[in-house]
């Protein structure tokens, strides 16, 4: 009788504890789920506002015409798109070859110098945390003061500093994923180091490297801060790499948003839509590309 009672009490208390534990579990799970929702709300809010407010001017004119001058209500941001392409091309021309070759060293040739490789990887990570204003004043100090004037070239160089860490770390990762067997096979049939790297390993890692490069380009296209120190904003067409003035999408958003002209503010939203579409498309494409493996 006693044992039976005991067992009864035990089951009872066990049940009670279990249910109070269960409630706590459910509450905590709910809080965690709610945090996820709260984290994603800004994403949807930003994207939907940009689409709603920028969609109004999202037509062919946006890509072919200059921004409206006083009195006009229609126009486009074509010059800024061209200017962004120009300055990002300069940045890419510096950062892509340097970044890929530096990553080749880290991944392929640093096995005997682990300490060096660690130092450089560390420096790359720290470089990725350097604020964009600092990249701007750096390019100002080195190029603008040397040339005696602002220039698109200086803007491109500032952006290349911000692109480098992304390109190096994604290329480094991409090369690491290529199986060692492939390199052995290449060396085994008599290829030298540079032949192995340039003709076997690099092509195998190309999709992932392209992904990193695309992401870096998209990020650089959205950067404004370095351009504040290196170029003078203009609405008109870009004048080439040595020109002081440069139209740029991100700079245009910054200028028009701070101005008080409601028409120009509408174009700030439209330019934002172009920028957001650029990063969304490249991010999704990058996501899709990294899933394509060359060697299983």
């Amino acid at each position: 009788m006693l044992t039976h009672d005991n067992r009864l009490i035990m089951t009872d208390s066990l049940k009670k504890r279990t249910s109070s534990r269960n409630i706590l579990e459910i509450v905590l799970t709910g809080i965690a789920g709610a945090s996820l929702v709260a984290t994603l709300i800004p994403l949807f809010a930003v994207i939907s506002y940009v689409i709603i407010k920028g969609g109004k001017h999202f037509n062919l004119d946006l890509f072919t015409k200059l921004p409206p001058v006083a009195g006009q209500t229609t126009g486009g941001v074509a010059s800024a798109i061209l200017g962004t392409i120009l300055v990002v091309s300069i940045a890419g021309a510096i950062a892509i070859p340097v970044g890929i070759l530096a990553a080749i060293y880290l991944s392929e040739f640093s096995s005997a110098e682990q300490k060096t490789a660690r130092t450089i990887r560390f420096a790359t990570n720290v470089l990725s945390g350097v604020p964009s204003v600092i990249a701007g004043v750096f390019a100002y100090s080195v190029i603008v003061l040397a040339m005696g004037k602002f220039s698109t070239l200086a803007g491109g160089m500032a952006l290349s500093v911000l692109m480098l860490p992304t390109i190096i770390s994604t290329t480094d990762e991409a090369l690491k994923i290529v199986p060692q067997d492939v390199r052995w096979a290449s060396v085994g049939i008599g290829a030298s180091n540079y032949q192995t790297v340039l003709q076997v390993v690099l092509p195998a890692a190309l999709p992932a490297i392209l992904t990193g490069v695309t992401l870096a380009i998209a990020r650089a296209a959205g950067e404004t801060a370095p351009l504040l120190f290196t170029v003078i904003f203009t609405n008109s067409w870009p004048q080439g790499p040595l020109s002081q003035t440069l139209p740029s999408l991100a700079y245009l958003v910054f200028e028009f948003a701070r101005g008080f002209d409601p028409v120009l503010q509408e174009f700030a939203w439209a330019a934002s839509l172009v920028l957001v579409l650029l990063v969304l498309v490249t991010s999704i494409l990058a996501r899709w590309m990294t899933r394509q493996k060359v060697y299983e």
Partner: protein
Amino acid sequence: MVNCLYSCRMVYNHAILWGFFLFTYAVNFVKIFLEKFSANFNLDNLHLMTNSIPPIKPQMVGRSRSANEKRFDIGFISFTRLLAWSIAFLLLFIFGTVAWRALPAMQEFGLGFLVNSAWNPVANNGKGDYGALPMIYGTLASSGIALLIAVPLGVSTAIFLSENFIPSKIRTVLTFMVELLAAIPSVVYGLWGLFVLIPFLRPISTFIYQQLKWIPIFGTSPIGPGLFPAGVILSIMILPIITAIARDSLANLPPELRQASMGLGGTRWETIVRVLVPAAFSGIVGGIMLGLGRAMGETIAATMLIGNSNRISVSIFAPSNTIASLMANQFPEASGLQVAALMYAGVVLFVLTLIVNVIAQWIVSQVQAKYQ
């Protein structure tokens, strides 16, 4: 340093070969691209194109390499080493250049710059009187607000995404969406913050002000831009970093930890709170530090929302300024000592973010070493 000397010597030895190398490199590169992409360039079979190992030239078989070829090979390795080193030097070079340009202001104001709260270009007979204390305060305060919001949200989101509460396919999509937050350009956040977030926060801030104005940090009437909206926008911008790194460190924990805790009768959340989070703690802290570094260096969105007032106010609803937005605002019109003073502020920002980033990277690398 030994490595550097070694690489410098190599560079010297093979300097002559470089012209030859660069040319061959370019030719090779173009050749590879033509081979790969001329036939059928299309994204669908990119993996097929890169699948084949390039054919070996017949004359390469059964012949030892010529001296030139060997030198060329060493030259290639040296060249990549030089570029890799240039990344490390770039960091020093950036710091050196900015500090060099800041030198006039450093000599003029010394360390007093850090505790002086004047920012007046016409004081001292037009020479100017500069101090960065309000901006240092604004930088730390706005980052602090950002962390207060982003850390709890980010860590619990990371827990949710690292556990199997929902099917893994949906989790992958949600994780990707959190990462997308980091991809949206800062100027778009600034625009959205200016026209959407500030009007949205105004009634909330006004309500808090009316109820709690006897507390100094809520002590001024919200006028729109200020420390609070800037902190909120910064928190949105650093959420993806904190979430991603916290999620990675939770997901990479050895499964034995979970099995042991569950085996002892721990529930899922007891396992999370008492075992998994403490085990991943340093990784989570590393992610938070990285987020802090990003928040302190963020320029455009903060500039558009913080109100750009060079005065210290205890209230979070008052306009303030950060070092980065001070530089962005004043640089285009600055001249003389003001440029040097802005560069000095830049050095302060650089040192602050550098310390935070180095600690963060160190923590994250320790964590990676621990479980590999």
